[in-house]
Symmetry: C3
């Protein structure tokens, strides 16, 4: 089946965001060894907990990001949604770097993620209304 | 691209469920300040933990809800799926209110969520079989 | 609306993976009673924590699995993606059995899941490039 023209940007952004998330997951696995936190524990070392929370928080945001990316992209603008998707991906990297250095340093990346998701949600609402 | 007729109901329910989830997430952030739980900790105050678990449990249910809403909606009935989607959204609000008042009070909302997701899953299975 | 031919395999695999996930969730609820872990706590008994982590880890992998299953399936091969989807579902069962017996026993199932998701991601990238 041929994809509708332009959706390859949305698909590519989706895959890139998931690769980033998988990398953050692998980092949690490595941190288990480094900080000697054996499953099923997820606490016990503040540095391990940073890795764990970065991954978890990214999961928490992906459940909003992925549907909003596609609804906004399919109803309003594929390119606009893809650009906001890149903002999301960069925001998650900034979040991870900031959080791992110092939990207080997570605000900038968190705001980028929130802005990307918020705009995608607003775009989705506008797109839905336009097509009603 | 024009959306297939009727999918705007599914898209709208999706966005509403995600807005509700984002509000629950903002409430976790506010609870961090109020109960003085600094990241990366997610435990240490029973009231904070209620807010945290409400958000987490909603994430746990969204991963079932969103695919089931769309598969049931596209294969069986868009309006039927959208109505069950509203039951899910109301159920999550009842769950949050009940849980925040007392963890034992989360049963009613949990059952509404489970009923909505369960019926959407059954509807998805029926819809898939019908289209086989 | 008629589904595009062959997508019923992807829809069926999606529903089966979600049923498996819901069963793991019900097992967490039962474990709360058995090991006397009252909400909002999610720690306090190593056996309860195994059930809890099996469910959580499955959620962590579903957010990758579902989009990759559909992008790979729609752009490259519906049957190939569905077969990898079955590998994922079996991998999650192996993971749960292994983890509940002993947290060290989770490696085999984790590797099956990771292989299925990794191949679906690679297939998605190839499919996206082919359709560019």
């Amino acid at each position: 089946m041929h994809l509708v023209w332009g959706t390859h940007w949305l698909a590519l952004v989706t895959v890139l965001a998931l690769i980033e998330y998988m990398v953050l997951g692998v980092m949690v696995g490595q941190a288990r060894g480094r900080y000697k936190i054996e499953a099923p524990a997820t606490t016990g070392d503040p540095m391990f907990e940073r890795y764990f929370r970065v991954h978890q928080n990214t999961l928490e945001s992906l459940i909003v990001f992925l549907p909003a990316l596609w609804i906004c992209g399919l109803t309003l603008s594929r390119r606009g949604a893809a650009v906001l998707g890149l903002l999301y991906i960069v925001g998650r990297a900034v979040y991870a770097r900031g959080y791992l250095a110092d939990p207080k340093g997570r605000a900038a990346g968190a705001m980028m993620t929130f802005a990307a998701n918020g705009l995608l949600m607003i775009g989705s609402l506008i797109g839905i209304i336009i097509h009603w």
